[in-house]
Amino acid sequence: MNNGTSPAQVALAWVFVGIPLAWGVYKTITASLALFQ
């Protein structure tokens, strides 16, 4: 049995945490634009 990790598994794991984080950062940056208006 091969117990190695496939690149797809690694990518999936990063996407799983990356998408919510990117969404949160996007919302924060959008809100912070008021500082420069």
């Binding site: 117990n3 190695g4 990790t5 690694v10 794991a13 945490v17 919510p20 984080l21």
Partner: protein, 457 residues
């Protein structure tokens, strides 16, 4: 053998170590919600009155204790359960932390539903706080073992997640509260239940994918330095023996002073920006400023911890204290000059170093005390955070109040505070300068191994 046991999560050959940072992030992104708890404060003051606070509604001052209790229990539980986390392995610890964190939300939902504040203190503050402490330290030593070549970067990634969790939780909570609210009801309890369910899934996914390296494992091509560096120990120190070393207490003060300076201004950033630049920084712009400094707090965790792998931990803290001192002294001048841009820039760098202090300290401890009990020692050190969580805001608030009572105009009321913060950093600089390699009498020998084994049962 249980699914949660350490023995069950020893990685097989071919396991990719880059699976471990996302596992750690699953935990830290969830518990990082703590930084965004304030979004519930205002809605929770209107649970009865709905549109405005009724006499029986909770006061903001009473609600402020929820976060404070959670942070105190974070420090206490990290200190108390550190050794258990280290010996049980990251899966059991992350599973337990996820359970406590979710239970905290569910109990708090009951507190909101029955309008009993003590139930929320117990739920989010005590039970959730325990989840925070266990969750915060659970992946740290595992990451250090997987990335012996870049321990700072590895822990920086996880601890960056703690800063990033607020970015997700804040808009998500607002969205959920809007979704569940009706003209006669504010949907805080339902939001707590939904968040609890989401966090349980996330933390348990993290627990499922986390692995520990097999004994003696090294990354491919990694060769440990032939000549050990003076401040990087190859020996381990037993968790409670670390408390007997001056190094532990010096680093405790290094962290405490760095955090005190940062946390004080973090809590007052919105008010400070508006009071120092009256009429120029609106409440909306101040909210944007708070978001921006939180972003740099998060990015600084990764940037400075990764930098520490290149320049060393001690030098990284020298940077924090020296640059921080200059910037704190500069802040009052930015107010006098009327330069909002310079003011913002100063705080962005200051807050990046505040986050960097948190993220660099696990690797600093690993350099001093070895990898064996670094998670547990890190847990004990987090009491410095609890202490700073009290010192920082108290210093900023009381000095500002004192200045205003003396007749100092509001826009100048922070000057003295900034100079005091710079003074605290001078003390931190001295503590950092005093850190030397741990004396070999504290290193684990066969006898200590036996004691540690006996303690493990």
């Amino acid at each position: 053998m249980s699914f949660l046991d350490r023995e069950r999560i020893v990685a097989k050959p071919g396991f990719n170590r880059w699976m471990v940072p996302p596992a750690a992030l699953c935990m830290h992104l969830c518990i990082g919600q703590a930084y965004a708890f304030s979004v519930f404060n205002l809605p929770m003051t209107k649970l009865i009155g709905i549109t405005k606070s009724a006499p029986d509604d909770w006061k903001l001052t009473e609600l402020g204790w929820i976060f404070s209790i959670a942070i105190v229990f974070l420090g206490l539980s990290a200190a108390l359960f550190g050794r258990w986390v280290e010996e049980s392995g990251p899966r059991k610890a992350m599973f337990t932390a996820g359970l406590c964190w979710t239970a905290g939300f569910l109990v708090s939902a009951v507190g909101v539903y029955t309008h009993q504040l003590w139930v929320i203190y117990l739920g989010y503050g005590v039970i959730g706080g325990i989840g925070l402490g266990i969750g915060y330290i659970s992946p740290v030593s595992t990451l250090i073992r997987w990335f012996p070549d870049r321990p700072g970067m590895a822990t920086g990634m996880a601890i960056m997640g703690f800063g990033g969790g607020a970015f997700i939780a804040s808009p998500l909570s607002v969205f959920l509260m809007n979704h569940y609210s009706t003209p006669t009801h504010i949907g805080v309890a339902e939001t707590f239940i939904t968040l609890g369910a989401i966090y349980l899934c996330f933390t348990w996914v993290g627990a499922a994918i986390v692995r520990v390296p097999a004994p003696g494992w090294h990354p491919e091509g990694y060769v440990a330095p032939a000549v050990p560096k003076k401040l990087i120990s190859t020996n381990d120190v037993y968790v409670y023996d670390a408390l007997k070393t001056p190094q532990f207490w010096l680093i405790w003060w290094v962290l405490c002073l760095n955090v005190t300076a940062g946390i004080g201004v973090l809590g007052q950033a919105s008010a400070m920006s508006q009071e120092m630049f009256p009429g120029r920084v609106t409440p909306a712009a101040a909210a944007g400023f708070v978001g921006l400094i939180s972003l740099f707090n998060m990015l600084g965790r990764f940037f400075w911890a990764s930098t520490s792998d290149l320049i060393g931990r001690k030098n990284t803290y020298y940077c924090f204290f020296l640059i921080g001192m200059v910037l704190y002294v500069l802040v009052p001048y930015t107010g006098n000059m009327g330069s909002v841009t310079l003011f913002v820039l100063c705080f962005l760098v200051i807050l990046s170093m505040y986050g960097g202090g948190f993220a660099t300290v696990p690797a600093y401890l690993k350099d001093m005390f070895g990898t064996r009990y670094v998670g547990a020692i890190h847990g004990l050190l987090l009491t410095a955070w609890s202490a700073a969580g009290v010192f920082g805001p108290v210093l900023v608030n009381y000095i500002r109040e004192y200045q205003i009572n003396r007749g100092v105009p509001k826009h100048d009321a922070y000057d003295e505070t900034m100079y005091i913060m710079a003074g605290l950093l001078v003390i931190g600089l001295i503590c950092n300068a005093c850190v030397r390699a741990v004396h070999e009498r504290h290193h684990m020998k066969n006898g200590n191994e036996a004691v540690a084994a006996a303690a493990r049962g």
